[in-house]
């Protein structure tokens, strides 16, 4: 009979060595979703006569109204068929690719709504002031609109990112190997022996990662709102 310490000393190094995978499954969707979410957000704040507005509204509603795991399954089973129909064979793609695609789509829709909230909170006078001092539309976006939108949206983005980091654990259901996938594989290999200790170790590692992310975002919030402090 192994003591808990022996079980942990066998499993924890392996779990730690899979942190990069988890971070990859978190980071790549985050970056892609920021870009795609901005585009969706832009379509959602244009006028309602635009058919693009309605398409994006329906897409966002779908991704917000269905569970993430169902979206992952649909992408996992549906995307190869879709690409096959076009004439490519993607049977050598790993499960991680499908997870990243599904998470990117999901996160983009949440990101779009968060950014939209920030954009709508923006004072119209700021936009006009930027244009009146001779900024082009692009300059106005980069120097006036984007920073202020981000400032308002950042707190919600923090919550989204923490959720995404935690939801990378769902990736194991389609066979991607990250912290949870490794922990599960270990539990299976050891025929369930010490399963609670292994899961406990994974939980602590997730908690530390979330705490680090939270602290990083709090520093970012403080930095981005540093001019507010002076004004107050």
């Amino acid at each position: 009979m192994e003591t808990p310490l022996q079980i942990l000393s066998k499993v924890v190094p392996g779990i730690i060595s899979h942190i990069p995978q988890t971070l990859l499954y978190w980071f790549l969707p985050s970056v892609l979703a920021l870009a795609l979410g901005s585009l969706l957000c832009w379509a959602r704040v244009t006028n309602r006569r635009n058919p693009l507005y309605w398409i994006c509204t329906v897409v966002i509603s779908f991704f917000r109204g269905t569970p993430g795991i169902v979206q992952i399954y649909i992408v996992f089973f549906g995307l190869p068929k879709l690409i096959w129909a076009i004439g490519y064979d993607v049977s050598d793609w790993t499960a991680g690719v499908y997870f990243i695609i599904a998470t990117t789509l999901n996160l983009s829709c949440f990101m779009a709504e968060t950014l939209r909230g920030g954009y709508l909170a923006l004072d119209r006078g700021q936009v006009e002031a930027g244009l009146s001092i001779g900024f082009s539309r692009v300059q106005n976006f980069v120097h006036v609109i984007a920073p202020q939108t981000l400032k308002v949206a950042l707190l919600n983005i923090k919550n989204l990112e923490i959720d995404v980091l935690k939801d990378t654990s769902v990736a194991y259901t389609i066979g991607a190997v990250e912290i949870m996938g490794y922990a599960n594989r270990m539990i299976a290999l050891r025929s369930g022996l010490g399963q609670l200790w292994i899961l406990g170790a994974a939980a602590v590692i997730y908690f530390v990662m979330c705490a680090v992310l939270e602290i990083a975002f709090n520093l970012m919030v403080r930095r981005i709102s540093r001019y507010e402090e002076v004004a107050r």
Partner: protein, 240 residues
């Protein structure tokens, strides 16, 4: 693209038949999440010594670990817990009928209870202090003031956030499919495994989840508009 539309349509009633079990799991979890949140929120609002710090630490830890880990942890812990409990009451341990539904409810309730605690606390703090004071001035006790004046306002204020979390919870119950709980996603998977038509079955499940979430959101919007009619925001505007 070879999407089996016939199977998708014929499978829709099968998946839909499992909706009650998903809703039952959601409501059950929501009830216990509310109980957990009221205990934690109450302890923190009333500043009960020790208990308020303990609940804060527990909630922070729960919020930092994924729901999947919690579900699997409760799932694996069930046999140990049942064995211990059976030994305690002097029953023979029977590994054939383990309460996996209860384990899923426990995991979901703890996870969402930690989030709902914040809703309870912020909604209670959103009620103006003057409401408490005027209730006391009328001669009400603390409990009477809470029950007749403050709580009704807290319920209305928290309604949008509660609905949000309920929708999250409803979507979260789909994760219970990985721990042997028969709900909608499990049913979809089982119905598809004969002909490997998983995509069609999952699309069915997605459509049903989508409709249910949309209906709940719409209903809660209507409810909030009618219940929040008399709610006055600090700037004097009524809730829209």
């Amino acid at each position: 693209m070879n999407l089996d539309v016939d199977f998708m349509l014929s499978d829709l009633p099968t998946v839909f038949a499992a909706l009650p079990s998903t809703l039952l799991l959601s409501l059950d979890s929501m009830f216990w999440a509310l109980v957990f949140a009221l205990i934690c929120g109450g302890a923190q609002l009333a500043r009960i010594p020790v208990l308020d710090k303990v609940t804060l630490v527990i909630n922070t830890f729960i919020k930092g670990i994924p729901l999947v880990v919690q579900l699997l942890f409760c799932y694996y812990a069930v046999p140990y817990a049942v064995k211990w409990f059976d030994a305690l009451v002097g029953r023979t341990y029977d590994p054939r009928h383990l309460p996996y539904f209860g384990a899923a409810v426990l995991a979901l309730a703890l996870n969402f209870g930690a989030y709902i605690t914040d809703v309870v606390i912020s909604s209670t703090r959103a009620v103006d202090r003057g409401q408490w004071e005027s209730a006391y001035a009328c001669g009400m006790t603390r409990f009477q003031a809470l029950r007749r004046v403050v709580a009704p306002q807290v319920i209305v204020i928290s309604l949008p956030n509660m609905t949000n979390y309920f929708i999250w919870l409803l979507k979260g119950t789909s994760l219970a499919s990985i721990v042997n709980v028969t709900e909608m996603l499990t049913t979809a998977r089982l119905s598809a495994s004969d002909g490997y038509q998983f995509l069609e079955a999952y699309i069915d499940a997605a459509i049903i989840y989508w409709i249910v979430c949309a209906v709940i959101e719409w209903a809660s919007g209507r409810l909030y508009r009618s219940a929040g009619r008399y709610l006055v925001a600090p700037n004097g505007a009524t809730a829209q």
